[in-house]
């Protein structure tokens, strides 16, 4: 594995702290240590690029320059929004002549463009691999029906060769299968949950989330697996209300992929912070 720095991002320190905790537990169970990038700053999330493209590029360049200076070849961003901002800024630097030089001079930076950005799914599926993951399984999730929800930002970076299929990705499905669970086929793998419209245009996002939950329910999913703090927040926090409003028969627990790995690795539920969710995830496990 190349020398990699963890870029946790603001959400993993806050609303998605369970993602960070379970990521660290799952990684150390496999004997993998990833140091945190020192002095990282916010990537700007959905807001910076939405109103100020140059600002988002500078924020990304500052983080990537830090990684370069600190001697890392890769940055791992478990948050899909952080991943998208860092990776798409990198892609723009490659595509557009002189852009990096311009951003560097305007931002008083000296990023050389050498750092590769990965997300957790890419790391798990393509670097660590299903074999190494399945070797760690002590408590196979036999009979557990899971749908993998990739959301938007893990695979959709314009003008960039994605680590997985853009429209119908399979990396998370393969990881879930290597834990012994059934990764179900479904129609909403990469449909949008509404992102920050969840705060600003509630009824729109409720509609988007309802479609996702409705299909997961119809396929008989016991849980929805995610790799994005925003997706998790939007699918989990108000799900009970959304199910009531859209007459969906039952709520479905939403887990981070690293939490599901932790369960299969035999890590204690409290360490994986399953109780942080609003939709009760306590019963997620192998079928009785």
């Amino acid at each position: 594995m190349k020398k990699t720095a963890l870029y946790p991002g603001c959400s993993l320190e806050g609303t998605a702290n369970a993602y960070l905790a379970s990521f660290q537990k799952a990684m150390s169970a496999m004997g993998i240590e990833i140091d945190e990038l020192a002095d990282w700053n916010c990537c700007g999330a959905t807001s910076a690029h939405a109103v100020d493209h140059a600002l988002y590029l500078s924020l990304a360049a500052r983080n990537l320059e830090l990684a370069e200076k600190q001697g890392y070849e890769e940055v791992l961003a478990p948050c899909a929004a952080c991943y998208h901002r860092l990776a798409s800024a990198n892609a723009e630097f490659v595509k557009k002549d002189d852009l990096l030089g311009k951003v560097n001079s305007e931002s008083e930076l000296n990023y050389g463009g050498s750092v590769k950005v990965r997300n957790v799914l890419d790391l798990l599926a393509n670097v660590i691999g299903s074999n190494r993951i399945s070797q760690q399984v002590k408590n196979p999730l036999t009979g557990l029906n899971a749908v993998c929800y990739y959301g938007c930002l893990n695979t959709r970076i314009p003008h960039f060769k994605s680590f997985d299929d853009v429209a119908y990705p399979m990396s998370m499905d393969r990881i879930v299968s290597s834990l012994g669970a059934n990764a179900l086929d479904w129609g909403y793998k990469t449909d949008c949950c509404g992102a920050s419209l969840f705060v600003t245009a509630e009824s729109t996002t409720y509609r988007l989330v309802s479609k996702i939950i409705k299909d997961a329910e119809a396929r008989g999913a016991d849980c929805i697996v995610v790799a994005c703090p925003m997706c998790h927040n939007n699918l989990d926090t108000k799900q009970a209300d959304i199910c009531r409003e859209y007459e969906i028969k039952r709520t479905i627990p939403v887990l981070f992929i690293t939490q599901l790995m932790g369960l299969a690795f035999g890590i204690d539920k409290s360490e994986l912070r399953l109780a942080d969710h609003f939709v009760d995830a306590d019963k997620v496990g192998p079928a009785a």
Binding site: P158, G194, T200, A201
Partner: protein, 168 residues
């Protein structure tokens, strides 16, 4: 750093297939559909859309950008149009979205990282709904998903970002 000319050139490639509008998850809430926006931008008639809700309702999901047969990065054109609307002082059709982005940016500019609890509180005050989702906060705090204390301050960030924002 204005991208406008480059973006206009790009939008000229649009042949109105409508794939962007067909796949857009929020199209039904938009006053002007994305393919129409591309038409206006390609024709140099950006003004037609700056005061419409489309640019603010766009969720930034990049579905249109990766599906466009002419590789037009429609999502980033929406970013550019928002910037333009703000610079021109156009009427904002969805003020809550604008307030949210401004509040979010202000928040991370303070320390380099977002303090979600503070940011949401400020957003509620500024958007005129101080108690919006207020019942959620204690539940989030109990679940360790919000923190009363702010995140660690990133060394030198505040000065860096101030200089940067002053230049642009």
């Amino acid at each position: 750093m204005s991208q406008t000319s480059e973006i206009r050139e790009n939008a000229c490639l649009c042949y109105q297939c409508g794939k962007c509008s067909a796949g857009c998850p929020v199209a039904e809430d938009m006053e002007v559909l994305p393919h129409r926006v591309m038409h206006y931008v390609g024709m140099g008639m950006d003004e037609k859309v700056l005061d419409k809700n489309t640019i603010w309702m766009c969720a930034g999901c990049f579905t249109c950008a990766v599906r466009c047969p002419n590789d037009i990065d429609i999502t980033s054109i929406m970013d550019d149009l928002r910037r333009k609307a703000l610079n021109k002082g156009s009427k904002c059709a969805v003020p809550s979205v604008k307030t949210f982005h401004e509040t979010f940016i202000n928040d991370f500019c303070r320390r380099g990282r977002v303090h979600e609890l503070r940011m949401m509180g400020e957003y509620n005050m500024k958007s005129g709904h101080p108690l919006h989702n207020a019942s959620l906060a204690p539940k989030m705090l109990l679940r360790h998903r919000l923190h009363v204390l702010p995140p660690r301050t990133v060394k030198g960030f505040k000065k860096w970002i101030r200089r940067l924002l002053k230049r642009s």
